[in-house]
């Protein structure tokens, strides 16, 4: 029997022995986690790292010395001197018994189950289960199969092992409580109230919390076995929240997005908009070949080198005939930091124009302060003010972090109108030491008023929800007329996106250099049409065919976000890496190489090292906050205001 060492000072840790291995773990650690720390696997079904223990499945039963009966490792907290056994004949027998019970009415349809190959029931049965069952397969209780719970989720009631995870997910993580277990005993089944379809915006997490093939993605039905998928760590491209995910592809197509737990960002939960957005990246509607289509002359497909040379000629012609400021440069919030960094260098240092932006509206007086609040820090604020519905509509997973702050951490969350009276907000708040103010980027001015009013009561940190997967990077790196990389003030006189288009439409700007895809640009509608028509030269690096690509006088295929290496910056300044999960659809060099080649054609020196990693190195040298962020950390700015 392990004896408590009498002289051990209390350092908040306790000594525990598991299968004879001694370890010290912090007080309050679960036996399950202490075992995991020693590399000892204990099978679990109901336990989940993001949920409270309930100990309903009894799969994790272990023997603990001096306890008369086996104890659930998922709900038992270690005590000093505790001696746990997981490898005895007794525990083996318990596991075999539990698995035999779980399979009692299970349909055993692994061959046609989407979960086969990554199913805890299958895996644990192989590892810990009995090889035969004493229960005849002909006498099973049957339930409904292939029940659509919504457009996203399919339920197989027979495969459910009643672990309650789906119910607890809706209870503890989203608070929507859409799924329940009904009936009882052998008749218990998973369902929804009155069989109504699920309405949550976070349904796609259900198949991932389900340990078996009871809840599955309809979009992934009969699509693949896990071992045929190639997994690439990526970042969700649907909004600027920057949720980490795994890109699972097969035969050069993305087959699903799966969660990749980053506790600091999405905390393992994705929204349905993001998770189910992948089919568009498999689209074959792509710009594939470089083309030169002079306004006066014959349009033709060409080699990329020739297209770059033609682009340089056109730009030079405009500079010679007019001036560098007759050129407008539009970056994209869907580009990588490396591309954006090169683009603004190209615009400012090589071409010599101040007209550069990545969106339409101005960001007057943009400061780093509006990006001070980190995602995980939301939980540390004693009160949070969310202005309007836009922040959560734009970045849905934010809702789950707010829910966690409110329900797990007891923080106050005030959802107020977009233009709520600042004095009223202050009054409603009561006393706070740290308040988080979350607003949409279209509501920046009002967020300043609210934050200023609140600052009289205590510290305030702001979060601004930017648009586009790398909208934040575009701002940090000065793809804006008024700021240089790092929010340093840019020389005055630069035009913003709308002004660039207006000037082009009016004939004052003669050449446009556009890197796409750019959703903000497309919102300019008819103004964009006029600008594209009127400009003498429209140089486009673009992935998707469309208005902008068709208007190009020089068109160069771009690489989509899942085809390239680089970094993108999320809403809180976290610099995260993207990696190629698919081969590029275009047989042209990467966008950074194209931009560098264009600079070189224009006579710039020192642009030779243009692969994404070299550019990343140059970027880190130029922007210290990005050097400190590294890969996966946050770029934090000192508060300097831009004139």
């Amino acid at each position: 029997m392990a004896q408590k060492p009498p002289t051990q000072p209390d350092d908040g840790h306790v000594a525990v022995s598991i299968d004879g291995h001694e370890t010290r773990v912090p007080k309050g650690t679960l036996v399950l986690d202490a075992a995991a720390g020693l590399g000892i696997h204990i099978p679990i079904y109901c336990a989940h790292p993001k949920m409270e223990p309930v100990a309903v499945c009894r799969m994790c039963l272990v023997h603990i010395e001096r306890f008369p009966k086996p104890q659930p490792a998922c709900a038992t907290v270690v005590a000093d001197g505790m001696a746990v056994t997981t490898d005895s004949a007794e525990v083996t027998k318990i596991r075999e018994g539990m698995l035999e019970f779980l399979l009692l009415n299970h349909p055993l349809d692994c061959p046609v189950c989407d979960r086969g190959g990554e199913c805890d029931l299958q895996d644990f049965t192989f590892r810990y289960g009995p090889s035969v069952s004493r229960f005849p397969i002909t006498e099973k209780v049957h339930f409904n199969k292939a029940v659509p719970l919504s457009e996203h989720i399919e339920l197989d009631q027979e495969r459910c092992i009643l672990c309650w995870r789906c119910v607890r997910y809706y209870d503890e993580i989203t608070g929507e409580k859409e799924i329940v277990l009904e009936q009882r005993g052998v008749q218990t089944l998973v369902t929804t109230f009155n069989e109504q379809p699920l309405r949550s915006s976070f349904q796609g997490n259900l198949p991932e919390v389900c340990p078996v093939g009871a809840l599955t993605h309809r979009q992934y039905r009969f699509v693949s076995r896990p071992w045929d998928l190639q997994r690439t760590a990526g970042v969700c491209p649907e909004c600027s929240y920057g949720c980490n995910l795994n890109v699972d592809s097969r035969d050069f197509e993305i087959r699903r997005f799966a969660s990749r737990d980053n506790p600091l960002v999405e905390d393992m939960w994705l929204c349905d908009r993001g998770r189910y957005s992948f089919p568009k990246w498999n689209s074959t509607e792509r710009v594939r070949r470089p083309a030169v289509r002079p306004r006066a002359g014959r349009a033709r497909d060409t080699a990329v080198g020739e297209a770059i040379a033609a682009a340089a000629n056109e730009l030079r012609a405009v500079i010679d005939a007019h001036s560098p400021s007759a050129i407008g440069v539009m970056g994209s919030a869907e580009s990588t930091n490396e591309e954006l960094f090169l683009l603004q260098r190209l615009a400012r240092d090589v071409i010599g124009t101040r007209n550069i932006d990545h969106q339409l509206g101005s960001f007057d007086g943009i400061t780093s302060e509006e990006h001070a609040l980190g995602i995980a820090e939301i939980e540390e604020c004693d009160a949070l003010v969310v202005l309007g519905v836009e922040p959560e509509e734009e970045a849905p997973v934010l809702t789950l972090r707010l829910f966690k702050a409110q329900h797990k951490r007891g923080r106050r969350v005030h959802r107020v109108a977009r233009d709520a009276d600042p004095a009223g907000v202050v009054k409603a708040m009561g006393a706070t030491t740290l308040t988080g103010v979350i607003a949409d980027e279209t509501n920046r001015e009002h967020a300043v008023l609210v934050a200023t009013a609140l600052a009289r009561k205590g510290a305030v940190r702001r979060m601004t929800v930017t648009r586009g997967v790398n909208g934040r990077g575009a701002k940090d790196l000065g793809v804006l007329p008024n700021v240089l990389p790092g929010y340093r003030a840019a020389p005055p006189g630069g035009k913003n996106g709308r002004e660039i288009l207006e000037a082009a439409a009016a004939g004052a700007i003669h050449a446009l250099l556009i890197t796409g895809p750019n959703a903000a640009l497309e919102r300019a509608g008819e103004l964009l049409d006029r600008a594209l028509q009127r400009a003498e030269s429209v140089i486009v690096v673009e992935t998707r065919p469309g208005k902008v690509a068709s208007a190009a006088t020089v068109l160069i295929p771009g690489h989509a976000i899942f085809e390239k290496l680089g970094t993108v910056t999320n809403i809180e300044g976290r610099v995260q890496r993207v990696r190629p999960a698919l081969p590029p659809a275009a047989q042209t060099p990467s966008d950074t190489r194209v931009l560098a080649a264009l600079a070189a054609e224009l006579g710039a020196k020192g642009w030779e090292r243009s692969d994404p990693m070299s550019v990343n190195r140059a970027l880190r040298e130029a922007v210290p906050a990005y050097a400190e962020a590294g890969s996966g950390g946050r770029a934090l700015w000192t508060a300097e205001r831009v004139a």
């Binding site: 929507e176 409580k177 859409e178 799924i179 329940v180 277990l181 009904e182 009936q183 009882r184 929804t192 109230f193 009155n194």
Partner: protein, 173 residues
């Protein structure tokens, strides 16, 4: 559909009795069942909004307990215990007798709509009087086929004084 004011008041009272609203789901459902006869989705939604819980939570509770009815039932309700004590004292015979005389299986309703009966309700807690059953939530004990016939006849003639029945009559008026 809307619940009657008395039922709503009863639910509000139940709500006040517990620290957590969930705890009031059981008495609230009784109130609904006594008024409506069974638990409709509309009624459960209404209970949910009165108690500020989700309809799914109400439904989960209502299906867990076999004495809440999800479907319309006969005018009278007969629950027969077949657990150990009753089984030892002849519950099987009572079940057979009911199946024959009522002409339908456990869990269903007689053709004339008079009786819904069930033998899957688990122990009624009346072991001392086994075999036992409930007619409209009133205990009938020491059953024999003859006694069962007499009880059913009394109910048919309207001389049973079950709580549920009186509620029903009030509503029917």
């Amino acid at each position: 559909m809307t619940l009657g004011p008395e039922t709503r008041a009863e639910i509000e009272r139940a709500r006040g009795r517990y620290p957590r609203a969930q705890s009031a789901i059981l008495p609230a459902l009784w109130a609904v069942q006594h008024e409506v006869g069974h638990l409709t989705p509309d009624a459960m939604t209404e209970v949910a909004s009165l108690l500020e819980v989700t309809p799914s939570e109400v439904e989960a509770v209502s299906t867990f307990y076999s004495m809440y009815f999800q479907r319309p039932h006969g005018r009278h309700e007969v629950l027969v215990c077949i657990n150990v004590s009753c089984a030892l004292r002849g519950a099987d015979g009572i079940v057979d007798h009911l199946t024959r005389t009522l002409g339908c299986e456990s869990g269903s309703t007689t053709a004339d709509g008079e009786f819904t009966w069930s033998s899957t309700v688990e122990c009624l807690g009346a072991c001392g009087g086994a075999p036992a059953m409930q007619l409209d939530h009133r205990f009938e004990e020491n059953l024999t086929p003859d006694r069962v016939d007499a009880i059913l006849a009394r109910a048919r003639n309207g001389t049973s004084a079950g709580a549920k029945r009186s509620v029903r009559q009030r509503r029917d008026r």
